[in-house]
């Protein structure tokens, strides 16, 4: 009951925030001089990339917790998180490509940042394939936890290897300063907040589906006179 209320609340808030973000992006933020209108993609591109990382981090934590506690809820949250992460990574790849076409005059290039994004995508799609090929619930949860941990350990290594290559992909957010116009920064912040809330909503709803399924299965068992 209470959960349902929080969910509905989240949906409303994140929709509102998302609409605000879209408004700010198109009517408040200045149009970039060099790139023109395509630069607007940036406000989706970057938040999506961050949400993807956040998803994988959450999956990692859930993986560790599952192995320690053996509580299936961590598996459910972790896998939901990976699914969302894969969706966002896919969107990063797509938005990036759409952006790259006019700017770099190519859909794809073997730039390290792009390459690493693609590697992340591969790792977590492999996770989903693994998930699909194991049926027993405990076994699947354990393997997915291990995969989520190993995959996440890999993330910094993947990025490290990227830094060591020459790159045409811009590194904006350097260690301390951010070289970006204030209005753009505000827009980015709003957009970021909107995506964060959207991510949270998705995670809750997606894991709710699995929790419900689990409950249904248990109820069915009781009905069959098992439990």
């Amino acid at each position: 009951m209470k959960d349902g209320f929080i969910d509905r609340f989240l949906v409303v808030i994140s929709t509102a925030l998302m609409l605000t973000a879209i408004y700010t992006i198109f009517f408040y933020a200045p149009t970039e001089i060099m790139m023109g209108i395509v630069q607007k993609i940036f406000y989706f591109h970057l938040p999506m990339a961050f949400m993807a990382f956040l998803s994988y981090f959450v999956a990692f934590v859930c993986g560790v917790l599952y192995l320690i506690k053996k509580d299936i809820k961590w598996d459910i949250i972790g896998s939901a998180s990976v699914e969302i992460g894969v969706v966002f990574t896919t969107l990063v790849l797509i938005t990036g490509s759409l952006w790259a076409r006019p700017i770099w005059n190519t859909w794809w290039t073997w730039d390290p940042r792009l390459t690493t994004s693609f590697i992340l995508w591969l790792i977590y799609v492999a996770y989903l394939i693994l998930r699909a090929s194991v049926e027993q619930v405990d076994r699947r949860a354990t393997f997915c936890a291990v995969m989520a941990i190993v995959g996440f350990i890999d993330v910094p290594i993947v990025f490290l290897s990227a830094r060591l290559w020459r790159t045409i992909h811009p590194v904006v957010i350097k260690s301390r300063s951010i070289d970006i116009e204030p209005a753009m920064l505000t827009t980015l912040a709003i957009s970021m907040a909107a995506f964060l809330l959207f991510w949270l909503t998705l995670l809750r709803i997606r894991s709710r589906v699995d929790f419900t399924e689990l409950r249904i299965r248990n109820l069915e068992k009781i009905r069959r006179g098992g439990m």
Binding site: A126, V134, F143, V146, M147, I149, I153, I157, L160, S161
Partner: protein, 223 residues
């Protein structure tokens, strides 16, 4: 440690009896080397980095054959149940299987690399010591991640297929480091300029052999 040795000895005995793991790895590696050289190299000057890419793709894809084997061996007749009910700790199994895989890779590399030099040796400087270091570091990383994952995929229905699927995405950084390092070795660059790559490879190997050692417990119990 003693138990790892017992398992290691058994696996080697079985390999000596069947001879097929290492032979397939070697043959498949050479095959890949040829097919790729043919598809890519014909009428093209193969520079050091490209050559290094061809070499490692051949070695790594052929090594997967050996990897999958070490576990499917234990699944026939459910020998793995014999290990699971016994007092052998899963980590000993991990050490044994990683060593077996490391060793099989070494043997097959000892054949594939000379063949590679015969094919592409013209444009390439041969630095034996640094190459050996690269090989050993690569094998460490590959064998430990590979053993962990072959433990996972052995418990699924389609072991031989799923293994490369899981493995390659995760070891892409290792492949990238190795290709880079070897490319520079082949180009005859001084050690100082590529030692960073070797250090990264060592880090990768260490991190993942520890992760494998710790996680293997959970994996093996699910088999």
């Amino acid at each position: 440690m003693g138990l790892s040795l017992v398992i290691l000895r058994k696996d080697l005995l079985i390999e000596i009896r069947r001879k097929d793991s290492v032979i397939s790895m070697i043959f498949f590696g050479i095959l890949l080397l040829f097919v790729m050289s043919m598809a890519i190299g014909i009428g093209r000057k193969v520079d050091p980095e490209l050559a290094s890419g061809i070499l490692w793709i051949s070695i790594l894809f052929s090594s997967v054959l050996g990897l999958g084997r070490t576990f499917s061996l234990e699944k026939t007749n459910r020998c793995i149940d014999g290990l699971l009910i016994s007092p052998v700790p899963p980590s000993s199994v991990f050490v044994a299987k990683t060593s077996v895989n490391f060793f099989f890779m070494l043997i097959s590399e000892a054949v594939i690399i000379p063949v590679f030099f015969a094919l592409h040796g013209d444009n390439i400087t041969i630095g034996l010591a640094p190459l050996l270091a690269t090989v050993l570091l690569l094998n460490l990383g590959f064998a430990s991640v590979g053993t962990l994952f072959s433990g996972i995929t052995a418990a699924t229905r389609r072991n031989e297929v799923l293994l490369p699927l899981l493995l390659f995405p995760v070891i892409t950084p290792l492949i990238a480091f190795t290709v880079k390092a070897t490319g520079e070795i082949f180009a005859g660059v001084p050690f100082g300029e590529y030692s960073a790559w070797l250090r990264l490879m060592a880090a990768f190997g260490l991190i993942f052999s520890c992760a494998g050692y710790l996680l293997f417990d959970y994996v093996m119990k699910e088999n």
